[in-house]
Symmetry: C2
Subunit: 203 residues, 2 copies
């Protein structure tokens, strides 16, 4: 392989293919996504796609691993930060998460499609069990409210945050245009922590 050219702002061909793969995989799902579509979306041809990534499956695995990695490179450090309070963590987790999702709104549905194919693999990648038992975030939660199940708490926090992105295709028509939708998500950055803190204070 090779990777030169990178003319100014342009992406490397490898990057172009990966970006195109995400677009097409997200829109069509793995099974419906055709390598020809991906090549077209990337502005290159089928032969080159296979030249770079050998197969559709390999391309998918690479792209998925990268995205899941990005997902947790944003969240991971926040969960283990010893220097911030629980309330501060809530603010930052929701803010960073939504910011990242606004930049990559396709990510939840894309990752979700992976669930079907190999759920245990995704669970392992996410290291969920470890975060649940070892993270500072969960410990701080237990200190404050030992009576609240961390899983229930997380389901609610993640549900409130992720659901608008998962259901976007159905929800957006209700809110108005794309800009309006983004504005709502910005609002949620403040709303969700505010509401979650209510649960912590009085639930």
């Amino acid at each position: 392989m090779a990777k030169q050219k990178k003319a100014e702002l342009d992406l490397t061909t490898e990057e172009k293919i990966k970006e195109a793969a995400i677009v097409v995989f997200t829109k069509k799902g793995y099974g419906n996504a055709r390598t020809r579509d991906i090549a077209e979306e990337a502005g290159i041809n089928l032969a080159l796609l296979n030249y770079y990534f050998r197969s559709k499956e390999k391309l998918f695995e690479i792209v998925m691993a990268e995205r899941v990695g990005k997902l947790f490179s944003v969240l991971g450090p926040l969960l283990y930060d010893e220097t911030t309070s629980l309330d501060e963590k809530l603010d930052r987790i929701v803010d960073n998460y939504i910011t990242m999702l606004l930049e990559h709104p396709e990510l939840p549905i894309f990752v979700l499609s992976e669930i079907r194919n190999s759920p245990e693999q995704l669970a392992n990648r996410l290291n969920a069990r470890q975060h649940l038992t070892e993270s500072v975030f969960i410990k701080q939660l237990a200190e404050k409210r030992s009576d609240i199940s961390p899983i229930h708490f997380l389901m609610s926090l993640l549900g409130m945050t992720l659901f608008p992105f998962i259901g976007k295709p159905v929800l957006q028509p209700l809110t108005g245009g794309e800009d309006h939708y983004k504005a709502m998500m910005e609002e949620r950055k403040k709303l969700i922590p505010k509401w979650i803190k209510l649960i912590l204070e009085e639930g």
Copy 2:
């Protein structure tokens, strides 16, 4: 076509095929689902599947329409009930919804897969806009808290309720076995209304 036999508890062949279709479509996604798999799952053969439903696409449409219908036959009447208070509605909506989802846990992911294929069609089927402007539920919400955006409110309510089912493959390993997971969902029937009411009271 024909539909007799229905020996005792057994399903009609047509029903068996539809049930099998849901299982396979949910597990594999539309594109990855093979009609041969569906036939095998139903315990019949490919020729018969096409004899009954003519094509894979028709089978999918029929099955999807039925499920979406079921989804809202549960929720619809509650939203428009003039005789119950907002708090009572919250209790019942969450309870009925989770009860139904426990019986059909595959439904959210199945319906979600439809989003990709034809989001506007799903939005229309759900009549979301109408419910948002005309339902008693939303009117009661506006009376109580005109300062809370109904969409934000719904995103949170639905997110808290649906997300555990969408993310089940990843979340369940964290909670223990299937029974434990169901027990958690039963707990949520009380938790979610309790937490949502906090928002209504003090958010």
